[in-house]
Amino acid sequence: MKTWTFFLAGLAVGALTFGAARLTGNDYVFFAGYVVLQSVVLATAWNILGGYTGYVNFGSSAFFAVGAYTTVFFYKTFPMPVPLLVLCGGVVSGIIGLGMGYLTLRLRGAFFAIATIALLVVLQTLIVNWTYVGGSRGAYIIRPQSVPLLGSYIQYLFLIMLTLAVVAVTCARLIERSQLGFGFAAIRDDEMAAEASGVPTLKLKLIATTISGAFMGMAGAPFPYYISYLQPSSAFVLDYSVNAIAMSMIGGTSTWLGPVIGALLLGTLQQVASVTASPAVNLLIVGLLLIFFVIVAPNGIVGLAQSLRARMRR
């Protein structure tokens, strides 16, 4: 399928989802759906770096928070419509991603992962001490009661996140099938051999950290409008990082489809659990599922399906 066809098909699926959600007549569906879609974007973004090039990033929440705080900053200095704020959040987080790539260019494996956690701590400290964006007290965002055409504001945010999810997934799929994706895979498999084959590994890694960071920031940009009160501890939570990793791993990291399946499955499960059981059950579910998949299907759901299909063909 051509990228444009895929993108349009994605938009069509999105439109159907939106229509179905409206039919329920319950705004809570949008509240819960927003979080699930946010997970799709975060997991897809994580996978561009973590799945394609093999660099495990534990700092997803830092990029997410940078996107969110970019919105808070512009809310106070130069108010803009949310779609533009999404772009701004993407640009700022992309630059942070590029910076992270430069600073960690010699680190691999566990050392890279540790450095990304350090980034999370450093950025959080910075925000906590920056009173203009609320510091440790947090910042209030007053969102409009309603928007024209759609009615409730949450539906508007839902629609933005839905569009962003389609864009992120299309972008991930495009990368996966392009020369860039081939280069990423070569880096993941063997960086030294990739260099020897002419792959400019540093340049490609920087592209990956930038794109991945940008999408995470985009996912975070509408967040202050979603919760209307943003404090550092609600944006810089490790949960986002862990979820992004777990969702990609459970779905399967080698294709664009893996994080989508993982995020939809785990995200929905978490939403259902926080309503029916308690919000604290969320992380328990993530932990148990992750252990289960690491043991039973280390390549995730997509990997499991691929190997089953290969076995049937033989």
Binding site: G183, S197, V199
Partner: protein, 243 residues
């Protein structure tokens, strides 16, 4: 014949261990050079320094007259310096054919000249696989290959970069005589097409039949350089090998 590779006073230390100690070497265009030496004599370090995998501490490397200082590995590959790794390092999650696609996309296409389209690339990978006798395994993963087939893939991936100089680092270790002959024939063919070859090998029969010139390393130093038959009679070489 003009000079292709000029190595001057190349030195490399690992902590207190001197791996390379002032190596001078000149390789002419189209030459077939054999490089031998006992284990730990610095052959692989030498290759790594030339190809940019490791950084030399002293000395310089020139390729076609241009200084390579500061050029990183992929840039050296792109100007025509290719190497195979002593222990094969295939891209494990890709098919055998896709393993060869990487150098086509990232090295050949990065040079000026006609770009390889995806159709060309398919034909080219097929041709390369036929050259090393791996056509039947094109769609397999490297993990399905035998050790010998992996060595062939390693060599094919280096050839795919369309190099001017090919450094084959122990491409034949563990192979049977007929397989060695296959690889030698392949390297000869490449040499006839104008590719300069440096062969690093322990199998003496292969080195002797292939090389026009033989260089011997012992503990990071070059102790002999010349016509293979003369070098083998050199008392220093005899002492290094037989004690």
């Amino acid at each position: 014949m003009s000079e292709l590779l000029a190595v001057e006073n190349l030195g490399k230390k690992f902590g207190g261990f001197v791996a390379l100690d002032g190596i001078n070497l000149s390789v002419r265009k189209g030459e077939r050079l054999g490089l031998i030496g006992p284990n730990g004599s610095g052959k692989s370090t030498f290759v790594n320094c030339i190809c940019g995998t490791l950084r030399n501490e002293t000395g310089s490397v020139r390729f076609e007259g241009a200084l390579l200082d500061g050029k990183i590995a992929h840039q050296r590959t792109r100007i025509g310096l290719a190497r195979s790794f002593q222990l094969p390092r295939p891209f494990m999650t890709m098919s055998v054919a896709d393993n060869l696609r990487i150098p086509l996309l990232y090295t050949v296409n990065a040079r000026s000249g006609p770009r390889i389209t995806s159709g060309d690339a398919a034909a080219r990978t097929h041709e390369l696989l036929a050259l090393v006798g791996l056509e039947a395994k094109a769609l397999h993963r490297p993990s399905d290959l035998t050790q010998i087939e992996m060595r062939k893939l390693e060599l094919a991936r280096a050839i795919a970069t369309e190099p001017k100089l090919l450094i084959a680092d122990e491409a034949m270790a563990g192979l049977s005589q007929s397989e060695i002959d296959d690889i030698l024939k392949l390297l000869m063919q490449l040499n006839e097409r104008g590719i300069t070859v440096i062969l690093i090998e322990h199998i003496m029969s292969a080195v002797m039949s292939f090389s026009q010139r033989l260089v011997v390393f012992v503990s990071g130093r070059k102790i002999a350089d010349g016509v293979p038959t003369d070098v083998m009679r050199d008392p220093d070489v005899v002492r290094a090998y037989l004690g």
